[in-house]
Chain length 180, copies 4
Amino acid sequence: MGSVLVLYDSKTGNTAKMAGYVAQGAGEIPETQVRLLSVDEASADDIFWCDGMAVGSPTYVGVLSWKMKRFWDEVVPKVWGKTDGKIACAFSSSGGWGGGAELTCLSLHIMLMNFGFLVFGIPDYTGEAFTLHYGAVVAREPRREEEIAACRRLGKRLAQWVAVYVDGRREHRPGPIKQR
Amino acid sequence: MGSVLVLYDSKTGNTAKMAGYVAQGAGEIPETQVRLLSVDEASADDIFWCDGMAVGSPTYVGVLSWKMKRFWDEVVPKVWGKTDGKIACAFSSSGGWGGGAELTCLSLHIMLMNFGFLVFGIPDYTGEAFTLHYGAVVAREPRREEEIAACRRLGKRLAQWVAVYVDGRREHRPGPIKQR
Amino acid sequence: MGSVLVLYDSKTGNTAKMAGYVAQGAGEIPETQVRLLSVDEASADDIFWCDGMAVGSPTYVGVLSWKMKRFWDEVVPKVWGKTDGKIACAFSSSGGWGGGAELTCLSLHIMLMNFGFLVFGIPDYTGEAFTLHYGAVVAREPRREEEIAACRRLGKRLAQWVAVYVDGRREHRPGPIKQR
Amino acid sequence: MGSVLVLYDSKTGNTAKMAGYVAQGAGEIPETQVRLLSVDEASADDIFWCDGMAVGSPTYVGVLSWKMKRFWDEVVPKVWGKTDGKIACAFSSSGGWGGGAELTCLSLHIMLMNFGFLVFGIPDYTGEAFTLHYGAVVAREPRREEEIAACRRLGKRLAQWVAVYVDGRREHRPGPIKQR
């Protein structure tokens, strides 16, 4: 049974809302255990526990927030070198389009790769001219249908890769992508 | 008199349209010469000529287009090591929001930094929840007011930094930023 | 039986040498088919064929070479949307330490993520103060023992992830990491 | 008279040593005031004070340290929108070559660009196959001649750009670059 951790930091509540949708999406794949935790609640044990994780941070000057960074910096001595091969992805809410949400996801990917995690984005479009190639990104609150769908798709795809690759349940492999 | 090069590659015409607006913006600062050139028209001489440049590429799988890359790879032997200190910025049109336009600007910045150029983004918001912190970005065609304004703002700011820093015309220094 | 593609561009031969070592490393895992191809020899079929791929480019002003970019830009219409879920990693030879090899690997990762590939780096150290957290990187020719070991480790780990995740051969899971 | 801030975080002392050399380099340009401050000592006033800044962080899982990030996250409300146009660069010490020092400099650049700073790297080589295209990078302690020279070169170039662009002292413009 696959296990998915959705880990987030949030200041205004926007990234927390995204996290909720990501967790919902992960729950769409049967036989998937999902933990939704803020960075204040999580510990090294949660990283050991999960097969895959989605990590979300508000876009703070184009890079993950210091609280999310502190969590990982401090957890390094406990988990680093013992957890490679997990599957990971990213999401972020920024103050505006063009404000660095993609780059914040990139900073999360770079950090997660250092632990040996396999990181991924999603080719799918969830609306007209709206996608999540480098993780789910939103300006401010996730409100529009395609934004919420992007968060859910991220969690679902994470759970799918966990099902396919970790659990060997090939029937959960996603089909070809439709571009819009 | 400051000189600004707007250099772009475009396949569908969207990045070309952005380039046109960027050039317009640069023209808003008096005593600024502006050249607007596609990557097929430009040569090493244009790089030597300019004090500042805005470089635009379509978002092709999250990185600048091969044609724009080829231009710079091939111009390296002629200009590299002789042009550092120029001021540069980036813009990109992608197939969708979340599709890698910020990352394409990043790839342009990384490339331009290698030449010793000083690269910049813009804190200003040009609309509600719309900014150009890492260069002007648009999904598909620049159509909405804030998108066109972002392109113009990029060109204008480039011309301002050229006026202030290269020409020493301090009166063109931009004022404090308003966030929206 | 896992299939690994080692795809590279090389101008001076240095990245080609890295590619050879990467392919050797992939061959260390039993029941792994390995194709070693330059970007001039490869086609869309090779991407469809492989389960995992290592992509190498010389560091050209901090971003992958235009020839490597052209390959992917041109292959997009054929493979994009049909190949997500493959596992991928990167390597690069630069003109000097601090010259952008990590960033070139990053540009490769960003490009590969766009296709929906799962990208990874390697926590392991292959020598004193020498690692490949973001892919194998070398200044000029791979010559020192730890540099060659890094290339081989990259290929081996790629073949391991393919064995573990695609083929379900869990016995090939790499053990805990030793830091030096 | 130009003012240069060298701001650093350091855990093991290695990045602090780099910072010392960077400050030395800045001091090589006449009529330059230099402040060397750890992130625990600095405040918003130091950012307002300086014309240019070099920001250094240890490489912590490929991204700037949480303490350096906290400094900037917390200073945002005071300085953001009032300090664009300053000139900035980056440096980092990592645990090993290939370990993410370039990427950590990139995270610093991305953060600094958000404030509207003009960021730069340096084409110069300071030794055989050793450069600082994206800021000064070192594995562990800066010990070899070219590593120390890279740190000094970074500070010197920062002071040069401040002299040339902010103070209008054109005679400090660096000459053409020699590649090694």
